[in-house]
């Protein structure tokens, strides 16, 4: 959904330079009902460069350190060591400047829940330093742009999860900022709302060169929206490239998915061989194979005895999820394909 035009306009300047960011959560002693937790390095020497006008993604499962990194970038948390340079400002030394450079959409809406959509957007704009009249004009424009005008008078609490998320996104956009940091902005949204979000983001990129840092664990969204992505695993960046560039790392491979009717016909020798390289989950097998092997495998299961036992099969080029697995990521269940 990301427009290529905005990407083409991207200048090469660095908007946000992160160097060796480290944050360690101290070990917690066990209390009643809560077991002791060991010391955790939530961000373990993270370095990144985000360029002007790009949509830069942070992809990783829960607990990979995405949110900790975002809290450090938005001035909500002081890193133990390392530096964050945003548009020439040292945000480790001056965390209070972050709010004057960044529009931040967090995961929680507690502060806005009992306000109407309209008042949530207007108040946020005023707290971003706009005068009453400016805040109201910006509010009306953003609500119109995102298609929220009809529900402007309803409290966020009474909205569905996706609508509430969209309302919070609207509040984030009132009061322009050169950098937007969005923590899983489209969670729970229907396709229409998602399109509205990405259209609004693209428009700001094209018109103002806005830079977007997006936290996501949705691989499909990551592939379609992001210009570049950093893959996080246990507080470290294990890869950073364009989605296409990352996928080229596993370009020699094809993803084969087999679904058996009730169980795999292991008496067929070819199937028994395939099993060795398959990732099994119930009746479903997932294999990553070279093109020739994949062809042979498909021929084997679609002919003869094996075909009778086969319910469905798919061949696909690898997704970012495959990249993540190939890079050594081990928490597959943390990434979502939707």
């Amino acid at each position: 959904m990301s427009t290529g035009t905005a990407q083409a306009q991207t200048a090469t300047g660095t908007v946000c330079a992160v160097r060796d960011l480290v944050k360690t959560y101290p070990a917690a002693r066990g209390r009643r009902g809560a077991p002791a937790t060991p010391e955790v390095r939530a961000t373990d020497g993270i370095s990144l460069d985000v360029r002007r006008g790009e949509i830069f993604g942070l992809l990783g499962p829960n607990g990979a350190g995405k949110s900790t990194l975002v809290r450090q970038l938005t001035g909500l948390m002081r890193p133990d060591s390392g530096s964050v340079e945003m548009l020439g400002h040292d945000l480790v030394r001056h965390p209070e400047r972050a709010s004057r450079l960044i529009g931040y959409l967090g995961q929680e809406s507690t502060a806005l829940d009992e306000l109407t959509v309209s008042l949530a957007a207007e108040t946020t704009g005023r707290l971003r330093g706009l005068a009453v009249r400016e805040a109201r004009a910006a509010r009306d424009a953003v609500l119109e742009e995102l298609g929220l005008t009809d529900i402007a008078a309803r409290p966020l609490k009474k909205l569905s999860g996706g609508q509430r998320r969209l309302a919070c996104f609207a509040a984030t956009l009132v009061g322009e900022r050169p950098v937007l940091i969005l923590d899983e902005p489209t969670t729970g949204m229907d396709p229409v709302a998602r399109r509205a979000v990405w259209a609004a983001v693209d428009r700001r990129r094209a018109e103002h060169g806005t830079t977007v840092l997006l936290v996501t664990h949705n691989v499909i969204e990551a592939e379609t929206v992001l210009d570049r992505v950093a893959v996080l695993e246990r507080g470290k960046v294990i890869a950073c490239d364009t989605p296409t560039g990352l996928k080229e790392r596993v370009a020699g491979e094809v993803r084969v998915e087999l679904v058996w009717r009730d169980r795999a016909p292991l008496d067929v020798p070819e199937v028994a061989v395939l099993r060795q390289s398959a990732q099994e989950s119930g009746r479903r097998w997932v294999l990553r194979l070279g093109p020739d092997e994949a062809r042979a495998a498909v021929a084997a299961v679609t002919g003869g005895a094996a075909f009778a036992a086969l319910d469905d099969f798919t061949l696909a080029t690898p997704s970012l999820e495959d990249v993540y697995l190939a890079l050594g990521g081990d928490a597959t269940q943390g990434l979502v394909k939707a």
Binding site: A11, G88, E114, G129, P178
Partner: protein, 297 residues
Amino acid sequence: MYGRAGTERERHQVTSIVPAEAAGARTTAGSGSAAEGGTEDRTGGVAAPLAPRARLFPSLAAVYRAQLSRARVARIPLLFVATFQSVGIMILMRGVVDGGSEARAVVAGSSVLVVAFVALNLLAQYFGQLRAGGGLDHYATLPVPPAAVVLGAAGAYASFTVPGTIVTAVTGSVLFQLPMTHLWVLVAVIPLAGAALSGLGAALGLLAPRQELATLLGQLGMSAALLLGVLPAGRMPAPIGWARDLLPSTYGVEALSRSFDAHPDWAVVVLDLAVCAVVGVLSLAVATWAYRRAAVR
């Protein structure tokens, strides 16, 4: 007070994005240590302009208005509860006290109890919930002065108490046949007792390490205001009397109760209210400090 001079300078120096790119390039090259022109930025002062800060009073007004609007969505039932509770207590106490100074104490105590219920108890719960639910992040990532958030919320909660307090004071005056001539003193009692109690409530809510503890402290504070404010002081043992003197709501109760005299001693009333004001300023300052501390962890 951080780097105000530096900020002004940045605003004058930089209007285009090109210097920011240059800065970025230099940082990427790993030589971001050159400090030019005496600015405090390591990149040598070629930083992008910062958006303006939200000023104290406009943002206070915005927070106040937003908080007030929450009453429509969430708080109305609780405001009724506060009033019913106080009126109920007065009806009960009618069988125990028979006029005189004790009746005045009951009416004044019940009226201020409405303030304690909403400003202390509910505000402590609100800030506890906001902190636990990550809601403070919303404010902490906006360029708004901490005092605006705390004062705006405290002011709104103090305002919530106005109708309940007036209804309770008038009902009590009728029940115990007290003169209503000087009830106008509520105009000073509500905001000052409101400031003291909401400051205390905000501070408790923001300082409590866990949400349940914030709720508990709010409830305890209100119970203290109930017992020490409504029960006639003359019958209390000395240590409880001292505790009563420590509770800021006591001074609001005293001020209101004195105003039921035919010829109130205004100097003492003013002194009582001054105590409320001082406690209000101090507790709101503590709450603002607690907010800063809670917002950036």
